[in-house]
Symmetry: C2
Amino acid sequence: MNANPQFIAATAHVDEAAVQPLPNSRKVYVEGSRPDIRVPMRAISQADTPASFGAEPNPPVYVYDCSGPYTDPEAQIDIRTGLAALRAGWIEERNDTDALTGPSSEYGLERLNDSALTAMRFPGLVRQPRRAKAGKNVTQMHYARQGIITPEMEYVAIRENLRRKEYIAALKSAGPTGLKMAELLGRQHRGQNYGAALPEEITPEFVRSEIARGRAIIPANINHPETEPMIIGRNFLVKINANIGNSALGSSIQEEVEKMTWAIRWGGDTVMDLSTGKNIHETREWIIRNSPVPIGTVPIYQALEKVDGKAENLTWEMFRDTLIEQAEQGVDYFTIHAGVRLAHVPLTAKRMTGIVSRGGSIMAKWCLAHHKESFLYTHFEDICAIMKAYDVSFSLGDGLRPGSIYDANDEAQLAELKTLGELTQIAWKHDCQVMIEGPGHVPMQLIKENMDLQLAWCDEAPFYTLGPLTTDIAPGYDHITSAIGAAQIGWYGTAMLCYVTPKEHLGLPDKDDVKDGIMAYKIAAHAADLAKGHPGAQIRDNALSKARFEFRWEDQFNLGLDPDKAREFHDETLPKDSAKVAHFCSMCGPHFCSMKITQDVRDYAAQQGLSEQDALQKGMEVKAVEFVKQGAEIYRKA
Amino acid sequence: MNANPQFIAATAHVDEAAVQPLPNSRKVYVEGSRPDIRVPMRAISQADTPASFGAEPNPPVYVYDCSGPYTDPEAQIDIRTGLAALRAGWIEERNDTDALTGPSSEYGLERLNDSALTAMRFPGLVRQPRRAKAGKNVTQMHYARQGIITPEMEYVAIRENLRRKEYIAALKSAGPTGLKMAELLGRQHRGQNYGAALPEEITPEFVRSEIARGRAIIPANINHPETEPMIIGRNFLVKINANIGNSALGSSIQEEVEKMTWAIRWGGDTVMDLSTGKNIHETREWIIRNSPVPIGTVPIYQALEKVDGKAENLTWEMFRDTLIEQAEQGVDYFTIHAGVRLAHVPLTAKRMTGIVSRGGSIMAKWCLAHHKESFLYTHFEDICAIMKAYDVSFSLGDGLRPGSIYDANDEAQLAELKTLGELTQIAWKHDCQVMIEGPGHVPMQLIKENMDLQLAWCDEAPFYTLGPLTTDIAPGYDHITSAIGAAQIGWYGTAMLCYVTPKEHLGLPDKDDVKDGIMAYKIAAHAADLAKGHPGAQIRDNALSKARFEFRWEDQFNLGLDPDKAREFHDETLPKDSAKVAHFCSMCGPHFCSMKITQDVRDYAAQQGLSEQDALQKGMEVKAVEFVKQGAEIYRKA
């Protein structure tokens, strides 16, 4: 168990593991229409193809990079000062917000004035929170609906395209075999997109139109100017979220910041801080000031702490204060369980596992204790008013999600989903950005119904699902039970997948679990992109497979999601450096390697001046003799 | 790297980790129509429901048990003598086989007479190999087509049913809430079975008819009487295979036997020995004599060793001798790459990763070197003659399976599959049992086409797939990239899933990798069973979820696929024993636990003498007051 040592802000330091550049990778910034739009990507360099395979140059592959300045060797990282506020100018130049003199929430003020917290408080400059000027609406959706393309929208357009055109162009110009390489490495299977509209290239205008339509969101609180904008929507790359957060039982502020930097290093697109222990206001400040990705929270968790865990003592007023407190810190999206209505609670009575969402059960308890409609539901428009003053996006929580295969797609779950659809329309009336949370535990044959109903009832607002877990029988492996479901629901149209770690149902994830969860979900999200036929999604698979075929071991590792693990596994069997240029691997050993036969065929054809197919189809009898004469030994010395 | 130490038979011993009983589990044997049909299952005992949840008795849950006598405390295990020959009597009483005086293969004789091998040779009794009497056919398919229900068929029928009827009956009789419990724990979602025919109960006659039809196989070589029969077919539980085997670079005989016992402990239904290094004849003997599950091999691997890795030097005669050698040792199924025809090789020329199947590339090289049709293809009926003399099942190999997303479902792959369909008809003409191997690397949207074509072209012969891997970009995590694909293809109708370990593409799996691969594939197979709506598949999920809801931590661990891992993860955050009876977990801490709210609702209703739904729907206002009055504190002391 974690000893929860006292955290001292003055000595806080970045996790060294999070600031190492990834092997053979370099951070590149793609400039947009103005110099302050600089979109980060990771360029993975590759070796040339070995001479025996044709000596082709292999241009760098660009991959999506969530890691922020941490992996930029040029960046000065000090978590005590936080990241640079790259969006500050964009927010200011819109001239629709005011800088406040201090927190406008009671709780925010109280914490600010509590000198006992000084030692642990984020020591950077005291930010002046911003809020929309009276009568103004500062959401990306509001701008989009007015026809405005914000720098954030242009940023995500550049980001989604991943320099694919430039990569293909580089291939084409790469020596005599360039055109052939471009054809090979750019090819992709036709997808099955289930009604998604996936343009060849993402334009800023496409981003704007999707946001205006409510089909995508850019979570970007005006008080989190440190974010590198990203987009969540079914017509964009599938994203993943990583949950972090301490509980009464574990983990310090430093550990939570480390989990955040660790999560984004491996590809967390957003991070939710689900802390429920002490000092969650201060923990959150540290996380937000240091996070280049959007941060989500479940404000009811903190509200509950404020009433010492007695759900029935929650009030709208103190919940409202909590929303403002967090909005002014810069939380980018709030999970709001406004779909847990009084009338829905009885629908859970016959369940196997009742209500498993913490937020859902808090609200159910409140409803029962007061015999009243949920204050989240009755005050929903008041919540919208807050959200649009800071551009906090809604993540409409699925408080009645199934907690077991048994409870999947039941009346309670679907009644709530229907309510979330109604609430979506209300939020959209206020130009608030919305996504919808989804299950949970669902067997494979019932997954698609979730997606179909969500698209229909919530009018294509982005779906954001937890898994789903496709069986209950594997505690300790729920990153896998759920990656199976996540890949499928992502394929069907889910925009963001909330990771599940191996510790699900058993304990709080540590850094290893965070990485395992991220990896399983990066796989699920990418498998979904491939299956949808997302343009260019196959580029990385193709590049890695070519490296594999050509025995470019280092490139194979580096193009993968986790170069460290791949290298470590390889070295367990073949530890010597020479093995990494060997034309065989430990599975077959040096005597006969399956991957080399095709190259022999190709080489042979080339020597004969024939196309590969011709060489094989015409006059094979004669050639067979020559093939043997040339020494049909497959293995070549490295 | 493994030092490959000299293996000494006299000191060989069982892996202690493989003979520990699983927690709260006991081996039970279900007797069939005769006393020598004793079908093993694992009964997992459960605690009673805690008083606060209703004090219900929870009867044991029966799960499929591949672990053989190793987990039976009554069994005497000595790997130097091997397992008892439980099928010996059944084979003898059919009176259609002869015991030979010794191996009838040249190589088998040569090894037997090589005194240098004495120290490493399996020291148990020298078995007399059996072979069909002249003119006899000893395949299970042959018996099935004659209307004979063999003991093996009855055995697998009992095994597949998993005492589900008895479990439900035990529930019904479990106290006053028994009927309600039976309804709850026996309920299951309707499946989507894509045309599978899944009877409520598997009868011996159903098994016979499926085998006669070719839709299922029981791999059961007459020279492997130690096997506990199991069945592979789309209308039965989805099975998984674990690959083991040393290469020139690693691993000793003792290690391979350990991998086998480890694999079956965690649920490997069959094991393939893919050894390619030295002494594979002796390694195989050790494995077979100690294996209660069917063993598969790829005989061409050993044949290649016999010609020092020079594929072009392979001949039908020496291959034939290898088949007989292995058949007389007791291999239950052979991967035969007879679908790699000369004309198919040119179809691979434009691939990204060429031929990645080792067997496929061996045969491609042979075809090219000789410019002749593959001897496996031209001698296919000769092979059938051997198979039916020992009842070795065909696993028709997919030598041209795609090795990258790019190559999925291409012309080469499909041309081979079509050929495998033709060969299936030939094998069936001989009453030989057949399954068909499948890919490989396939993006999700192309998986179903593989299944549909396989069912159509191979006339529903069982499909046996490697994954498929749904993306290429995650070396080090290919157990996950492939479990995603395996779950889907299992759902669509694949009968057995060949596992992929985290070491795939990188190195040889060690014991940890074997377990990780098994777990990912047990999950995939079970998710598929649930999705198909396999009768009773949800029983284990329901039981585990009920335990979870009732905070029966130990039962939750023990009902899972890996109790050790679940317990270890739980204890990292809450190590004290008391935590295992605590009514909360480390995620929410003691102050507010989401899972307890529903129980409060239920308790409250019970106190009022109302049904749960009524209590909530009628007169809730009054009750709300009482709910609070009773002290709405959720947490209860353990």
